[in-house]
Amino acid sequence: MPRSLAGDLTDPEMAQPYMKKDDDDSDIEYSPFFGIEKGAVLQEARAFHDPQLDARRCSQVITKLLYLINQGESFTKVEATEVFFAVTKLFQSNDAGLRRLVYLMIKELSPSSDEVFIVTSSLMKDMNSKTDMYRANAIRVLCRIIDGNLLTQIERYLKQAIVDKNPVVASAALVSGIHLLQANPEIVKRWSNEVQEAVQSRAALVQFHGLALLHQTRQNDRLAVSKLVSSLTRGSVRSPLAQCLLIRYTSQVIRESSNTQSGDRPFFDYLESCLRHKAEMVILEAARKITEMDVTSRELAPAITVLQLFLSSSKPVLRFAAVRTLNKVAITRPLAVTNCNVDLESLMSDQNRSIATLAITTLLKTGNESSVDRLMKQITSFMSDISDEFKIVVIEAIRSLCLKFPLKYRSMMIFLSNSLREEGGFEYKKAIVDSIVTLIGAIPDAKEIGLLHLCEFIEDCEFTYLSSQILHFLGNEGPRTSDPSRYIRYIYNRVILENPTVRASAVSTLAKFGALVDELKV
């Protein structure tokens, strides 16, 4: 039942948003925001201008505004400006909870450069507050909204914040520095002394953030990065996140190093030692980086071993990460992965179908000629269990495998042909047809059987586009085979039985046959 706004404004405790019929039926269930309406909330926000602020009430209104923004409600420029100005008034309140919501709101509203000035002095005051959380958050908000000029004004405070003994404050300043680096590199680079101090911090994440910022300021200087890596790999790294960063930078140094002799790689030893770290994210990062580098088989082996162990983890995320990495390795170095084949085969039945598909496609890359037939059998039962999206990935892997082992074309062609007969959408069927066409082009012996399979397919194909494409292809390839007449029946049937588009294709195909094949000329 709608309530009038005028009556409710007199009693803020009773204020209700104007009830709006909601489109969505499931909002009938209780929701604190049921019936919320932008206009009403904007009206409520006018209360922010009151000289006597009710912190609790204002917090509620801000939360409603944040809800609206979160739900995708758009505010006109005028509305946004009005709200922003109203919100700035809330700095009058000393309520900590409200202040925190004000910070959030300012970030959401992204005030324009001519509006920002209203809050900068309040934020700068908070940046020097005795309250740690005010300092930390005011820094984050300020750095989000200021320009280069203002940045130079507050630079001094940011440098102090970076080495603040409260880690939350330090991290806030460091992360803000990373964001500011994009637009103001010269300014942020001046903070390198403080940032270096942060990198030595005992607080785990301060080191992480400091390291990220330091690296970014120096990333174009190979020597500087190399020195950074050098000192840290010998020093104390205090968090798995920082360790991961160090692994990344180390691999960068190794890659860029002009030193190509594999024996002379001290940083490589560091990477290898990370394979034995206690944090799984570090092990994964190191293993992955090693597999991405140009290493010997001996250097690669321990990374593969560790990934193989992850394949049998109870955690889907670990299994996924491992199989994805091995999948990539298998592209260039399939032999390195063959030890994992048994584990990969058991992953084919993994509940997580992404993992299962990755396992299969890895096997398709590592499989050797003798295992192809067995793989094809296993894949057949696997395919019925997965969606089109995954099936396409498998089809493409099979195509690659066939190109690798052209002598095995028969069993793979049969597989592809059977797949065409199964249920499936357009993209899936197209992928199969494309694969057959590719194989016909690459493997001369496969041509006749491939064309026959395509003919059988168009007898029952629901996709006009595919039928036409195939007929066109037949017209080009059929006449050049040893016995073109085999295909005539299939094509002729299409002339009679199909829709106009397909019939037209069929007719022109027959014409091609007629033109190119002497025996058929009547």
């Binding site: 309520d95 959380m133 806030a172 990062e285 955690k315």
Partner: protein, 182 residues
């Protein structure tokens, strides 16, 4: 062939908290890959649909979509998602998801369901704000995250390390009204 891309800091593309029908409870995007609300809603619908039939309750699950990795978990009628680029370290993202789900659990005092989340939307939004800043990971430890939220909500003058989580949350509860309709 290794490409000479410069190594970068781990980054998160979005954090989503959806209900059991895929509707938003609280979301935050940190990337221009989704420039407007329509594209975001499309993404949310895709990821929700793709993961709906999976069992992501006991262990965090993971999937690939449109070239992104998404680590996710379901708790009661809430679906938690964290998205990153497909070249990111999956375990780092899983860590972020864990921090997100567990800190929400702490802040809602174990009552992890949609209605409670909406009644405490302010805490959820503050929570997300304390985990990621502009795509960069700020914190992944649930106790620390919840502590940062609770301290803010309570009396910010006490350094957060000196407050136990339950103390801070109790004060926070006094401060914020449970029901926003009051």
């Amino acid at each position: 062939v290794p490409s000479f891309t410069v190594e970068s800091c781990p980054s998160v593309k979005n954090i989503l908290l959806l209900d059991s029908e895929g509707k938003r409870v609280a979301v935050k995007y940190f990337s221009d890959d989704w420039p407007n609300n329509a594209s975001r809603l499309t993404f949310e619908k895709s990821i929700f649909t793709k993961t709906l039939k999976t069992n992501a309750r006991s262990e965090a699950e993971i999937t690939l979509l449109d070239g992104y990795i998404i680590v996710y978990k379901f708790v009661q009628d809430l679906h938690f998602f964290v998205t990153a680029g497909d070249d990111e370290n999956e375990l780092i993202i899983a860590n972020v998801l864990q921090g997100f789900a567990d800190s929400v659990g702490l802040l809602l005092r174990g009552d992890v369901e949609k209605r409670t989340a909406l009644e405490n939307l302010d805490l959820i939004l503050l929570c997300i704000d304390e985990i990621i800043d502009g795509g960069i990971i700020l914190e992944t430890d649930a106790n620390t995250i919840a502590g940062k939220v609770a301290t803010n909500a309570a009396d910010g003058s006490v350094p957060f390390s000196e407050q136990t989580i339950s103390q801070a949350l109790a004060t926070a509860r006094e401060h914020f009204a449970r029901s926003l309709l009051k």
